[in-house]
């Protein structure tokens, strides 16, 4: 390999066919005289612009559909040299760091010698060592292209905002499960908004047996084993549900507040009494109708109960998870959009309440396709306010444009699976932690189950890894029409 050009933080390297370098690989450009080396990542592989190549190709053009048949008497065997030159490639590389005295700095301000520099592939384990991608809480994500393991540290997810994105069936949920199971293994509290019931069997092996996490996985299905009593709900949480999920107008919300206060003073906070109170409340008929319609929405959701004994499971699970680690899977499958919003509003409110009062230390929240249940104002809340309370969110989506730009800008880690759509890549490339060229170029060519890991978990050295297999029962498979009936 030979250093050809450097423009800004892009270097172009001439590579020959036997050198076998691919997109995503890291190269070390060592200048022994300068005592420094550049670490550069290949973001694109192009044909080198060889003089006379067009003539060479034109000469070999078919004669009426077939190549001109002939015999070459090439006694000096020059042909392999011609092929060697023709197949030379130009590696477009992004400079990631400078190594000097075994320490890394992000500088790319110096120019290595073009004639004297030695360029070689930098094995990922060596890069991980140099970048000090290690820690006490390892999570083995999978293997890199050179078959070395890629291990991140769970603490790099702690207090961070993460995004897992990629098109359908590329392995996003699989990676989420891997992260969740490892976090649970390190006694973390994890909450999953499970839209398609994919995480329900996180505690089971592929052959249906209990795995090591079985006792730590708690599945809560709204209106079945996950219900709440009005007494457990703070007024502001219920108002949030009424205003944001059920679109209750401001005037009606004020009346509702009075009704609530009245019931609370009489220690009669339950659904039955709430219905009676609205019926007997002296107010404008339109307000009353508005309140009634929302009341019935709450009743019909089945999420609210007057039996306090039925409504203790969430807190029980959270406290159990606090002690031993655990994942609380909120099964939102078969739940209507309004009901999903009610559940999520309640849960987030409850979490903030428990975290504010230090009943919980922190939780890792995994939110699949959050745009389907998260109200607009929550996005900013999650990356700012809730983060300070100790809710560390991981968004999982195959529609990257449903996540706001400011979320990408503030994301600490991105796990990017294959995207072919330019628009999708454009959206993700707004992330502050990596340049757009790297993301667009590498993500397009990622095979299934391979992800480009960006951000703090890899100390800002983008790496491609094949996510390792998990012995977990697969759920959430798409129901098909043309299935074998035998």
């Amino acid at each position: 390999m030979k250093l050809y050009k450097k423009e800004g933080n892009i270097v172009q390297i001439l590579s020959f066919p036997n050198e076998n370098v691919e997109k995503g690989d890291y190269l070390l450009i060592e200048d022994a005289d300068a005592g420094k080396a550049l670490i550069a990542q290949v973001i694109d592989v192009q044909f080198a612009n060889i003089p006379g190549i067009l003539e060479e190709l034109l000469r070999g053009l078919p004669d009426g559909g077939e190549l001109i048949q002939g015999e070459d008497f090439d006694p000096l065997e020059i042909a392999p040299h011609i092929t060697y030159i023709q197949d030379a490639s130009l590696l477009i590389c992004k400079i990631r760091a400078t190594v000097e005295n075994e320490s890394l700095s992000p500088s790319s301000s110096w120019l290595p010698s073009r004639s004297q520099s030695i360029i070689r592939k930098l094995p990922i384990p060596m890069l991980l060592k140099l970048a000090r991608v290690d820690g006490k809480l390892p999570i083995q994500l999978g293997g890199t292209k050179d078959s070395s393991p890629l291990t991140i540290d769970a603490s790099a997810l702690d207090g961070r905002l993460n995004i897992i994105t990629g098109k359908k069936e590329t392995g996003k949920s699989h990676l989420s499960k891997l992260l969740i199971s490892n976090l649970v293994g390190y006694k973390a509290t994890v909450i999953v908004f499970d839209l398609n019931g994919e995480y329900l069997s996180l505690g089971m092996t592929a052959d249906g047996k209990r795995n090591a996490y079985y006792d730590k996985i708690h599945v809560l299905t709204p209106s079945q084993n996950f219900r709440v009593a009005l007494k457990q709900v703070n007024l502001h949480v219920l108002l949030d549900i009424l205003i944001h999920a059920l679109h209750l107008p401001g005037t009606s919300a004020r009346e509702f507040r009075r009704i609530w206060q009245s019931l609370k003073e009489r220690d009669m906070l339950n659904m039955h009494e709430l219905g009676e109170a609205i019926r007997n409340w002296h107010c404008n008929q339109h307000v009353k109708d508005a309140l009634f319609s929302r009341y019935y929405a709450l009743v019909n959701s089945g999420f609210f109960t007057d039996n306090v004994a039925e409504a203790t499971l969430l807190e029980e699970c959270l406290f159990k998870a606090k002690e031993h680690g655990g994942a609380i899977i909120i099964n939102l499958r078969n739940t209507s959009m309004i009901d999903r919003q009610i559940v999520v509003e309640y849960l987030l409110g409850k979490l903030v309440e428990l975290l504010t009062s230090w009943k919980l230390k922190a939780v890792f929240l995994f939110a699949e396709e959050a745009h389907l249940y998260l109200r607009e104002t929550y996005w900013d809340d999650i990356v700012t306010r809730m983060r300070h309370f100790g809710i560390f969110t991981t968004f999982i989506t195959n529609q990257p444009d449903t996540i706001r730009e400011n979320i990408y800008r503030q994301a600490d880690n991105i796990f990017l699976f294959n995207f072919t759509n330019e628009h999708d890549l454009e959206v993700v490339s707004r992330a502050a932690r990596v340049d757009a060229e790297t993301m667009k170029s590498i993500a397009k060519d990622l095979p299934p189950h391979h992800c480009l890991v960006l951000g703090k978990v890899v100390k800002d050295f983008p790496m491609v890894a094949k996510v390792r297999a998990l012995d977990i029962k697969t759920m959430g498979e798409t129901r098909l029409f043309f299935t074998d009936t035998n």
Binding site: I50, P51, G52, I53, E55, E56, R59, D63, G64, E66, I68, Q69, G70, E71, D72, F73, D74, P75, L76, I78, H81, I82, Y84, I85, Q86
Partner: protein, 328 residues
């Protein structure tokens, strides 16, 4: 005798390259060129099958060493049969030519071509060596083709003029005699000519006549030692502004000459009035920049020569007005 030439070339190539080991050589570039006169004869394409074959060679200087030059030569025979083109390409042969070995290299090749020849030419100067060695290879390929082909049309690049250092009279005579014995007709196309009529280049003063046709140039007298082995025509074989000097073996009767050109029209493509077979022969043996780099790579690897770029004094002194030394 005939098959000895490639073997001799390989031997020469390897021997000459041995001398270049551990010498530095400088990269330079260069180009090649060619030469000549009139009653309108209308032509009709003859569709009866005939083999059309062509020969061309190419040479290039790929660098300089402290003692000489590194050159490459290559030749191609191409023929069209049953609507398909086939080829045999020889080379590239890379040679290191120095003042010391040029005579040996040149004479060895001449001997391989024509061992019975008594009056061997003196070797040319180093600058002329690439084209002269390519000419030797070209004559040998022409000889091979005229010997192996039966009842075909053989296309040469250039003219049938001999008595020049490039084309000894004896060699040309032998080639044409062999071709005649095998009932082949040799047609030589010149892309450029210096032949003039009333002060005008012959290919530029064409009568208004519907192509394809050819015009005979009469009254041409060559001064010794130049010998014209062909009758000279201007051929305009397709619509457009392209006409070429065409030399046809003098010893062939006129009807056979016309028949040969008509068979060419009926059996080969003639885009811009130039036979495709001859065009392909040229294309196949021409060196591309890519190949030059590959040969330099080969020499560096095989002979351990470290390539250095000698500063181009023209560029250095005249900047953008300097065309480069190869073009000076």
């Amino acid at each position: 005798m005939e098959t000895a030439l490639p073997q001799r070339l390989i031997q020469l190539s390897m021997n000459s390259l041995k001398n270049v080991q551990n010498q530095n050589f400088q990269l330079i570039q260069q180009n090649l060129q060619a030469t000549q006169f009139l009653q309108p004869i209308p032509l009709k394409p003859r569709k009866e099958p005939a083999i059309i074959a062509a020969v061309d060679t190419s040479s290039i200087k790929i660098g300089e060493t402290s003692t000489g030059i590194l050159i490459a030569i290559r030749g191609a025979n191409i023929w069209k049969q049953n609507r398909h083109y086939r080829y045999i390409r020889l080379g590239p042969f890379i040679l290191h030519i120095t003042e010391e070995n040029k005579k040996e290299v040149y004479n060895s090749l001449q001997n391989a071509l024509n061992p019975s020849s008594e009056n061997h030419q003196n070797p040319p100067n180093l600058q002329q060596m690439p084209t002269r060695l390519a000419s030797l290879l070209e004559r040998w390929l022409q000889k091979m083709l005229s010997k192996t082909l039966n009842n075909g049309i053989i296309l040469f690049d250039g003219s049938l003029t001999s008595g020049t250092p490039d084309t000894p009279t004896k060699t040309m005579k032998e080639i044409l005699e062999t071709a005649r014995k095998k009932e082949n007709t040799v047609l030589a196309f010149s892309k450029m000519t210096n032949l003039r009529l009333n002060g005008h280049i012959i290919t530029e003063i064409l009568p208004t006549h519907k192509p394809p046709y050819m015009l005979e140039a009469v009254g041409l007298r060559a001064k010794p030692p130049i010998v014209l082995f062909g009758d000279v025509y201007v051929a305009k074989l397709s619509n457009g502004n392209y006409a070429f000097r065409l030399d046809i073996d003098k010893e062939i009767p006129l009807p056979q000459k016309i028949e040969a050109v008509e068979k060419l029209l009926g059996n080969d493509l003639l885009a811009q009035g130039y036979p495709e077979t001859l065009r392909l022969a040229h294309i196949l043996c021409t060196f591309t920049a890519n190949e030059v780099i590959a040969m330099q790579h080969f020499i560096t690897r095989k002979c351990g020569v470290k390539i250095i770029n000698r500063p181009d004094m023209h560029r250095l002194l005249f900047g953008v007005f300097g065309k480069g030394e190869a073009n000076s």
